[in-house]
């Protein structure tokens, strides 16, 4: 297997191996169903201890990328999603497109929120209601969203949000308000420790970072969110005519 590890790097060898193997899967060099070399043969090939290989395999298994079948490791992840941004796709839709069952967990809700300095978003919302939510796909954390809502527009929203329903549906059912458009930035960033722990992946993993502004049919800004999206969900194909 063509893998190069950097022994001088601060990143542990097992994490380097994990990242390299995941990359091979994303690129299609390792297809779903492929049998991985055994821990001992890969460790011999790379000249590292087999415990490092086991650590990497277990981390990949933890993210549903590898499965242990009859004591051999088999690739269980591949080019799943072919998301084409043609029509509006909510976070729940994106998770469904990756072939996973979505589940939402609201981690924090707070009223009269002050936006932290490190998020350079203009907040023309007046009083702010803040919610941090984690979206799971097949019980694996896939998206972390920090949402900022205009508090006065959504009375009682802090309580309703705890129902863990997708909030676009809550806008409609509870406030009879519909979104009409959104503006999104997409950046490629390396995860910092705080977020890496939430996603349970190595620090420095490449994640998609977005700032999204959503407007309703009256063209009012009804939500600003900052969202971290796992790279598996940002993997898609665009077809064009030349």
């Amino acid at each position: 297997m063509n893998i190069t590890l950097d022994r001088r790097s601060k990143t542990p060898l097992s994490q380097q191996l994990e990242i390299d193997l995941r990359l091979k899967m994303i690129r299609g060099e390792l297809q779903p169903g492929a049998v991985m070399p055994s821990e001992s043969s890969l460790s011999a090939e790379l000249g590292i201890s087999s415990s490092e290989v086991i650590k990497a395999y277990e981390a990949l298994a933890n993210g549903n990328h590898l499965t242990l079948k009859n004591s051999t490791w088999v690739v269980s992840f591949g080019k799943v999603s072919r998301i084409i941004f043609e029509k509006f796709t909510s976070l729940v839709d994106i998770i469904k497109l990756t072939g996973s069952t979505p589940k939402i967990k609201t981690l924090t809700v707070s009223k009269d929120y002050k936006t932290p300095k490190d998020i350079s978003v203009e907040m023309p919302l007046g009083k702010i209601l803040f919610a941090r939510r984690l979206y799971y796909g097949n019980d694996k954390p896939m998206v972390l969203v920090d949402c900022y809502f205009p508090q006065d527009l959504f009375p009682g929203f802090d309580v309703i949000l705890k129902s863990d329903e997708p909030y676009y549906e809550l806008f409609k059912s509870k406030f009879n308000l519909e979104f009409s458009r959104s503006e999104r930035t997409i950046e490629a960033l390396n995860l910092k420790k705080r977020e890496a722990e939430i996603f349970d992946v190595p620090v420095g993993s490449a994640y998609s970072y977005s700032i999204v502004k959503t407007y309703d049919t009256l063209n009012r800004l009804i939500e600003v969110n900052v969202c971290w999206l796992m790279p598996d969900a940002m993997h898609f194909t665009i077809e064009q005519d030349e």
Binding site: N2, T4, D6, S9, T11, Q16, I19, D20, L23, I26, R27, G28, E29, K79, F85, K87, F88, T89, E178, F179, S180, R181, S182, E183, R184, T185, I186, E187, A188, L189, N190, G204, S205, A206, Y207, S208, P231, M234, H235, F236, T237, I238, E239, Q240, D241, E242
Partner: protein
């Protein structure tokens, strides 16, 4: 190094003071793109501070992408602007970078008989010959993205003699020079940690997050003609996307 300032009696950590003074020097244009910064040791000796403090200051600035540390070479100021592009215009990225003054440099032309990834995109068998060309796009002296192209020798005979100007589009070359019936293209978009070889070539942090486009160009019968992989480190590119509810 006159722009450096440290007040040891201040409560602000010294590494922060160092970082702040370099940040100021950059914003005041005392330091400009590609200027070399003093070595860790020079600063240690000059200010009588520990090596770790200097390393800390430089690593803060590196994480803000204000400087680039190249192993065995030194520390340099990088003030390459981040391009903001709308997602639907991703085909015009080359153009946008070129408007900024980015030019492509040819790094390598070789004939290969296997390639894990490109050969599977091109439906080529191991042993079939293809040209592999690598390019890097340079802003002043800093590489901002790179491209790898794989073009089968059967479609592109004598390409090594024809491919002279790396800024000339390969699609045009295929259509005009080789009269190939180019009709479709598909573009795989993904977000990845860079491999160490690529991050070295792009002089960015190992495992930096990057956008990767893998494009396959096909003829009228959807038969693949050539493959281009473009890698854009996240620090130089920000995509934007607008959605309307139908």
């Amino acid at each position: 190094m006159y722009y450096l300032f440290v007040n040891k009696s201040s409560k602000t950590p010294i590494y922060q003071q160092l970082a702040t003074s370099i940040r100021l020097a950059i914003s005041d244009h005392v330091l400009n793109h590609d200027d070399q910064l003093p070595t860790d040791e020079d600063i240690c000796v000059q200010f009588g501070i520990s090596n770790i403090v200097v390393k800390q200051a430089y690593s803060v600035l590196a994480s803000e992408h204000l400087i680039t540390r190249i192993r065995g070479k030194g520390t340099y100021v990088t003030t390459v602007p981040q391009i903001e592009a709308t997602f639907s215009d991703f085909r015009q990225l080359d153009q946008q970078f070129s408007n900024l003054g980015v030019t492509k440099k040819l790094n390598l032309i070789e004939v290969i008989d296997h390639h894990d990834l490109a050969y599977s995109y091109l439906n080529l068998q191991e042993g079939e010959l293809a040209f592999r060309i690598t390019l890097s796009a340079i802003y002043q002296k800093t590489p901002v993205y790179c491209q790898e192209m794989v073009l089968p020798c059967s479609w592109f005979p004598n390409l090594d003699k024809v491919f002279i100007n790396p800024n000339y589009s390969v699609s045009m070359l295929a259509k005009d020079m080789y009269q190939l019936p180019l009709a479709h293209s598909s573009h795989d978009f993904s977000l990845e940690n860079l491999l160490s070889s690529t991050s070295q070539m792009l002089q960015v942090t190992r495992h930096e997050a990057a956008y990767v486009f893998r494009s396959t160009y096909r003829d009228t019968h959807k038969k693949p003609l050539f493959f281009i992989q473009s890698t854009y480190p996240g620090r130089y590119l920000k995509l934007t996307y607008k959605q309307e509810k139908q």
